[in-house]
């Protein structure tokens, strides 16, 4: 049968534990590990105090990083070689995940805190209902990105995308910051951007037509405060993707626009009372 069989994980501690808090870097070959088994192992590692985990040959396993809620707010770094499956880092509670490759749909679904870095492209529904933490994507992303993203006071999620996004970016956005760098020369062709947007902000390097954005969205140039924010996150983006050899000043020099909601109540006039 072609069903996945349980695989014995190869655990290789790189150095001995110095104290009760073990600081090992553990490697797992995930060939033939089903989603549940892989996440079982990751949770065991977290509870044992492991700080870094390296997953190799990942192919389609889902919810990596989701099972790692701990009331003590433990933190881990997870490196993934391969293609993780859907819902990577769903409900992420403060960990860091680095993907050396492309990711699929649902990355950072309802993510609360932590960081996800993707050295490639991501699929649909990236950062859906994201409420904290940061996601950096080197290339482009699919549909319905940052849908219903939220923020509260100083808990503001940030999403930085190196390329472009397809339709429905920032639908129902209620908070948070999305930055699209448009690197690689492709124009922003997505439609229905910011439909139902009532909070948060999208910064876009390049231009879009008015017909591409929802009726509730205002297109405006960046002001001083915006420039500071954008500059800050571009620096962080460059740090995470040194291979791109980007020049911060070069990127900032180009034309930038800001998409923001016209009002907090985009649907206020819809009803008869």
């Amino acid at each position: 049968m072609l069903m996945a069989r349980a695989h014995l994980a190869k655990v290789q501690p790189k150095k001995a534990a110095l104290d009760d808090e073990s600081v090992e870097k553990v490697e797992i070959d995930t060939t033939d590990l089903a989603t549940r088994e892989l996440n079982d192992r990751l949770r065991d590692l977290m509870l044992a105090g492991t700080k870094e985990a390296v997953l190799r040959n990942v192919c389609g396993q889902r919810y990596i990083g989701t099972r790692l809620y701990s009331p003590e707010h433990r933190k881990m770094e997870i490196e993934i070689f391969g293609t993780p499956g859907n819902d990577l880092g769903a409900f992420l509670f403060g960990h860091k995940i680095i993907v050396h490759g492309n990711a699929q749909d649902g990355v950072g679904n309802t993510m609360d805190a932590g960081e996800i870095v993707i050295e490639g492209r991501a699929g649909d529904v990236l950062g859906f209902s994201m409420r904290g933490g940061k996601i950096f994507v080197r290339d482009s992303v699919g549909y319905r990105t940052a849908l219903h993203m939220k923020e509260y006071e100083d808990k503001i999620p940030v999403l930085v995308i190196g390329g472009t996004s397809q339709d429905f970016l920032g639908e129902y956005m209620a908070g948070g910051i999305v930055i699209l760098l448009g690197l690689g020369g492709k124009p922003h062709n997505g439609n229905f951007m910011g439909t139902g947007m009532h909070g948060g902000i999208i910064y876009l390097r390049g231009t879009v037509e008015k017909t591409q954005v929802g009726g509730q969205v205002e297109i405006s140039p960046l002001d001083e405060e915006d420039r500071e924010i954008v500059e800050h996150y571009i620096s962080e983006f460059i740090e995470r993707f040194p291979g791109l050899s980007l020049e911060k000043e070069q990127i900032l020099k180009d034309e930038w626009i800001r998409l923001s909601p016209k009002s907090k109540r985009p649907y206020g006039k819809l009803y008869a009372y």
Binding site: G106, V125, F128, S129, K264, R265, A272
Partner: protein, 504 residues
């Protein structure tokens, strides 16, 4: 634009009895009554009156009568007054008519056409005052059979049992979000649920941080399309997680909490700007097919370490049994179905009154469908949508549900009169409002006492009826359609519910 509609209610004040205490002015949330110092009289603006009866109840002299105005349009069976005046309101505003509470139209109420059995002579009834009546039940997935290992008299269970909720009585509080209802009302529901051995549902507004420690263990937390207030801690402090796909009052369309009701505290819990409309989009924008739902169910199970049952709430609509069957196969442990009469804080009237099917027909068809497929054990069914009394609860369970959710009934216990103005945020009782002046009227201790009383009273009545049928444990009633008969129903209705006609 001049409005062409009549006021819905009129105030009739007995001037002789009225002592001008101005109590009615203070009590009214809509500003209907005002004191005119020149005339030294209370004057009322009928157009503002919502018919909630608060002033009539609170008037110390009993001087106020609030009654629906009669309309003297020419009688017309097709163009009722309501249809006529709703149309005019739309012509005046160009907007969608909003309303609250549940469907008030005269669709057939099947509960009132079903009668129960009582045992006599051949199978004796049980006296609940003498023997224990067991209403406890478990909600969640159950294995088809259990492997046990015996070792010298010691029995060990081999099969891993999935997580289940234990309820002492099959009545749970339906999902009503903090935001749609006030903090006091929300807290009352939580308090009553914990003290009565049952559960409350947080609805899509999240669970405020200060309540998690004490009430998390009785809470079913919701993950709705707006994903408000969801973080790993919220999911893990609860007893169960429910994915809200739809609700009976407004199947197929989303939820809308008007900005008036998004106060600072609501905004904090939901993580959206204060004063903004909280929009829950119609579909979950990451669920467009059953395997997406399966993906979310397992994401939640992962996020809660497989320790909590995951429930999916859907509205009962035409093809829902097939959908529900798919949802069970997708991994849900509990299916909550909400029928045509389900209530809401705000919905377009045309959707509330026209979309969905009655829950009575839905329960039976779902129970039977799951049994035919051999997967009935994999999920429990909770039915909701217009449960009004303990007899309705019994009938629901006999038709195949494991438990029921009560929404409107719980609000009525706290003082609601179904005036259907919840969407204005001006609930006179302090239930569906964020205005502190109004919500302060609802005393948490008293309101939770009233809710506990309700659960207690209904549970007792259920025990009595069970005993009458010769049953002393709720499990023996579930899906036991033999104890039901229909009166005044068409053959197809009897077929759908799977019950015989009275006398057969």
């Amino acid at each position: 634009m001049k409005s062409f509609v009549f006021p819905e209610f009129q105030i009739i004040r007995d001037e002789e009895k009225c002592g001008q205490c101005r109590g009615c002015e203070r009590q009214c949330a809509f500003g209907t009554h005002t004191y005119d110092p020149v005339l030294d009289r209370l004057v009322s603006d009928n157009y503002k009156c919502a018919g909630c009866q608060r002033c009539a109840i609170f008037c110390p002299k009993g001087a106020i009568e609030v009654r629906p105005t009669q309309s003297f349009y020419r009688p017309n069976a097709s163009w009722s007054r309501e249809k006529l005046e709703d149309l005019k309101k739309q012509a005046e505003t160009g907007g969608v008519i909003l309303t609250g509470c549940g469907n008030d139209k005269p669709f057939r109420i099947y509960w009132d056409h079903i009668v129960l059995n009582a045992s006599q002579v051949t199978n004796p009834s049980i006296d609940p005052l003498r023997e224990p009546m067991e209403l406890r039940t478990f909600l969640g997935a159950k294995p088809d059979f259990m492997d046990v290992k015996t070792n010298k008299g010691d029995v060990e269970i081999e099969t891993k049992l999935g997580p289940n909720l234990m309820v002492e009585t099959p009545i749970l509080f339906s999902a009503m979000s903090y935001g749609a209802i006030s903090y006091n009302a929300f807290r009352s529901l939580a308090t009553a649920a914990c003290s009565s051995g049952t559960f409350f549902n947080t609805g899509e507004g999240g669970l405020p941080k200060e309540m998690r420690g004490e009430f998390g263990k009785c809470a079913i937390v919701q993950v709705a399309s707006g994903r408000f207030g969801i973080d790993a801690e919220y999911l893990n402090c609860a007893a169960a997680v429910e994915i809200k796909v739809g609700q009976g009052a407004k199947p197929g369309i989303g939820g809308h909490l008007p900005g008036e009701k998004v106060s600072a505290a609501v905004a904090a819990t939901r993580m959206i700007p204060m004063g903004t409309d909280a929009i829950s989009p119609a579909p979950h924008h990451d669920i467009y097919s059953i395997e997406d739902l399966s993906m979310l169910i397992y994401a939640l199970k992962e996020a809660t370490n497989y320790e909590k049952p995951v429930s999916v709430k859907i509205a009962a609509v035409h093809n829902f049994a097939a959908i529900a069957s798919g949802i069970v196969r997708a991994g849900a442990d509990i299916i909550a179905i909400d029928g045509l009469r389900g209530g809401t804080g705000a919905a377009p009237k045309v959707i509330r009154d026209n979309v969905g099917i009655p829950i009575e027909l839905a329960i039976s068809s779902l129970d039977r469908r799951l049994r035919n497929e051999g997967i009935r054990n994999r999920a429990s069914i909770i039915a909701a949508g217009g449960i009004r009394c303990s007899a309705d609860v019994i009938k629901a369970i006999a038709l195949g549900a494991d438990a029921v959710y009560i929404g409107s009934a719980a609000l009525i216990a706290m003082g609601c009169n179904l005036c259907q103005k919840c969407y204005t945020g001006k609930c006179k009782q302090g239930i569906c409002t964020q205005d502190p002046r109004l919500s302060g009227r609802l005393n948490v201790e008293i309101a939770s006492q009233r809710l506990s009383n309700l659960i207690h009273a209904w549970s007792h009545e259920i025990s009595e009826m069970l005993g009458g049928m010769g049953i002393n444990a709720l499990e023996s009633l579930r899906g036991n359609r033999d104890h039901l008969r229909g009166v005044g129903l068409y053959e197809w209705e009897l077929d759908v519910m799977g019950i015989k006609g009275a006398g057969e």
